[in-house]
Structure formats: C-alpha cells, structure tokens
C-alpha cells in the first residue's frame, strides 16, 4: 500500500467501523458464540432460520414486492421525466414525495387504501361497493398492493430526480443527426435517448430496489403478518421472548446483508461499464 492511501484507508475504516463491528457480532451470534442463549459453536440458528419455510417465503415476498414497486416507480418516473423536464411546476410536483418520511407516507396509504379508506368511499359513492367489506383488501393483503403503491410513490420522486438530471446531460446532437438521416421520433427515442437514459439511471434503480428490500417503516404499517417481510422478520425474531429464536434474527440479518451486498456489487459492475467512470 502506498503512503498516500494510509490516511484515506483509516478514514474509511472509521466510518465503516460500526457496520464492521456490527456484522462481525452478527456472524458470531448467528453461530451461537455471542448474544442471548450463546453457549458454543453451533449451526442450530442457521439451520432453524434457513431451513424454515417462513424465512424463504418472506425473502421471496420481499423481493417480489420490492421488484414490482421499483418497476412501477421507474416506469412512471421515466414517463414523467421525459414529459416534464422542461416544466418547473412538473419537476417540483414530481419531487414532493421526497419530503414525506416513509412512516408518514405509510399512514397516508393506510388512510387512502384501507377498506374504509378514501378510495373505498369513492367507490361507495359511485355505487360499486355498498359496504367497506365489499372493497378489496389492499392493506395487510398477501399481494402487498398498498405496500407496493406506497413504495412506488416514494421511490418515484427519487427516480424522477435522477432521470431529469440524466436527461439534462444528454447530447442532443445525435438526436438531430438521426432525425436528419430519416429516423422517426419513435426510433430516435428507442435507439438513442432510451439507451442513454437507462445507462444513466440504472444505478439509481438498483439502489432503490436494494433500499426497498430493507425498508422497515412501510411494511410495519401496511404488510401482512404472513408472509412476513424480511425487515419485520428480523425485528420480530430479535425481540422474540424465546431467547433461542433470537439467534435466528442474526441469520436472517446476514441473509439481508448478503442480498444487499450482491446488489451493490451489481451496481459496481454496472458503473465500471459506464464510459468515463473512474476505475
């Protein structure tokens, strides 16, 4: 290691130290060497957590809801960014959800989408749902409809912000050359604008997806108890009165961290492929 790298490395280790120590502790606790009920090296917690159907069902459900929400948010964000990039009012409206904390947005979703919520009242007024029970259960439901919509509402703003920034840096000269050479507006979009927009925003899309996997506040208010979302699974196991089950929280936490690290690695590989990025 060169001398100029010593101080930066020390700084990096300092800011990462809480997570390094936390993860080290999590590994030891998952192996039964630390934490409540620790005795000796054992894979009992690992086997209990990874061998349980609940865990994998929760992981699958969390990945599915996060993926659908990210896809919805990204599709809406790209559509809106392309249309409002020249409109200050449109851009301001689009980023407003950034100001609403997740727990507040979750409450808004609850007030809107529950069986006695505002949307249900509108369908009642339209004569479609005579009673609240006739309105489909969109909150605490196994498809996670309200959770997906709430996730998408929050991430939409972040992705619009990124997409507008990327669109602002695009070289429009190639669009004009393509149009001069006879390309239609549709061809210009799909062959020139879209590849550049996707390349510039894809790291943000990956980051949004990774963030949603670990989001706690919204599932705490909107998700069903079965399947259990990954962050809720970690929290419930970590405060379980049965001390032996607490070890499973560390295993599930490691699983979530591994998923997240995989996505960060994907993000890193993606960045390497971008032209002009420092390697």
């Amino acid at each position: 290691m060169t001398r100029r790298n010593v101080a930066p490395l020390a700084a990096v280790l300092l800011i990462a130290s809480p997570v390094i120590v936390g993860v080290a502790y999590t590994i030891l606790a998952a192996l039964g060497l630390r934490g409540a009920g620790a005795s000796e090296l054992t894979v009992r917690h690992v086997a209990a957590a990874l061998g349980g159907w609940d865990t994998w069902r929760g992981v699958g459900w969390t990945l599915a809801t996060a993926a659908v929400a990210t896809a919805v948010a990204a599709a809406a964000a790209f559509t809106v960014a392309l249309r409002v990039q020249q409109s200050p009012l449109g851009r301001l409206l689009a980023v407003l959800p950034l100001a609403v904390p997740h727990v507040a947005a979750a409450l808004a979703a609850l007030l809107l989408l529950s069986q006695s919520g505002w949307v249900s009242r509108l369908t009642h007024a339209a004569g479609l749902t005579p009673t609240p029970a006739d309105f489909p259960a969109l909150v605490y439901d196994r498809f996670g409809v309200s959770l997906v919509l709430a996730f998408a509402w929050k991430e939409f703003a972040y992705l619009v912000l990124t997409a507008v920034a990327v669109l602002g840096t695009l070289d429009r000269a190639s669009d004009e050359v393509a149009r001069t050479l006879g390309a239609s507006a549709r061809q210009v979009f799909w062959r020139i604008t879209w590849p550049q927009l996707w390349r510039g925003t894809s790291p943000a899309v990956i980051a949004a997806f990774a963030f949603l996997i670990g989001q706690y506040e919204m599932p705490a208010l909107l998700a069903p108890s079965t399947p259990t979302a990954l962050p809720l699974l970690i929290y419930e196991r970590s405060v379980d009165p049965n001390l032996l089950r607490r070890g499973e929280a560390y295993v599930v936490a490691l699983l979530a961290l591994t998923l997240c690290a995989g996505l960060i690695a994907a993000h890193g590989i993606w960045r390497r492929r971008l032209p002009g990025v420092t390697r």
Partner: protein
Amino acid sequence: MTHATHRFTLLALAGWVLTPIVVLALRAVSLSWRYPQIMPMATASGGAFEALADPRLVAAAATSFWLALATGVLGTVLGFVTARLVTRASGRLQQLTWLGALFLVVAPPLASGVGLQVVMLSLGFGGTVLGVLLAHLVPATGYLTLFAAGILGSMQSGIEDEARTLGASRLQVWTRVLLPQLAPRFAESVVLGALISWGQLALTLLVGGGVVRTLPVELLSLVRSGNDQAGALAALVLSLPPLLGLGLLVRATRRTGAAL
C-alpha cells in the same frame, strides 16, 4: 408534445403526488371523519390541534430535533473529511470507498442494526439518546460521504494549487480558499444529514429499545393504537422540515440554474 398532453401529464402527476398528502392533511385537521363521508363534515379548529400540545409529542419532537441536528453536524464532519482524504487516494481505494458508502446507505437498517444494537448495549449506550445518535450516524455518514465526494470531485483543484503557489500556507488554503467555497455546501450537508435522522425509525426502535421516543416512534405507536387523527397530525409535523429543506434546495438550484 401537444399542449393538451402536457396538461394531462401535469394533472395526472398532481393527482398521484398530492392525493395522499391532501388526505393526510384532511385527516389531521378533522376530529372525526367517518365512513362513507368523502370529505370530513367539519374540520375542528382548536380541538384538532390539541394533540400537538401533548407533552409526549412535544418531548418526542425535541428529541428528534436534537438528534437530527447532531447527526447533521457530525455526519458532515465525518463525510467531508473522509471524502477529502479519499479523493486524493488511488482509484481502487476510491472505488472501494464509494461502494462502502453506498452499502451504508442502502444496507437494511435492521440487518446492520441487530449487531449494532448489541455493540451499543455492551458499551452502555443501549436505550440512550447517544446510542441512537451513533446508530443514526451510520446511514447519514454514508449519504454525506457520497454527497461530499460529488462536491469535492467537481471543485477545481487548480484554485487550491494556485493559492499554494502564491505562498499560502496549508491553513490559509483552508481558511481563505476552501472553507468560504464550501460553506454553503456544509449547510446543505447538515440539512441532508438532519433529514436522514429525522425520519429514521428502525434504528431508533432497535437501539433506543422503545425508551428513546422520537417523533417517528410516537407516530408509529399512535397509528398502531388506532389514533389516526393524532397520527396524521404527527405525520404532518414530521413532513414539515423535509418540505422546508426541499423548498430551500429548489430555491438554491433555481439560483444556480440547475434542474430540479
């Protein structure tokens, strides 16, 4: 795009973005809003806001405020120092740092927090404001390192070199060149760090153990206890500082001509 399409886009966007906020605001100012009323029959004036004077909410708001301020200031110092050192390091270490900072940002708070919780407990910080502050600093430092790296990366290093060539000491370069240039960015960084702490719930619950009561913790317990009206009011209070921060950011970007 035709004028009509543009108007339709703006209307659809306004509906998507504003409907949840308007419903939240209406619920906050209505003592009662029963099914199937589409609009509350009467919005109470004084009564609806009584919840704001609840000593528990006031204390929680104060705790949130001090935590946010301390997280913003400490996170800014750590973020800028790290970014400054790393922008001068080799490319591989730089890349490793940015990925590490990104990991701090997107790592599930509960997943990194379960280990952190026990570390805090063993240090005697479990269930204390100091422990929660240290926990909030983890994601905040990640964000602010990335934020500082973006700023320092786009700053012209030539000015600094010129000052050194003209005889300025290292201290003078900092006090006369860098700090005046960076002061507005420091302020933005403090606001950003404060906002990350302000809305944080998972780490507060885990490390604070339910003893440290911040506004998001109170909001969660209000909603879970079925008190939607006080919950909505707390949610609005929780949303005001970020809204103010966003307003300042929009003003700043318009002044500089950047897009937001």
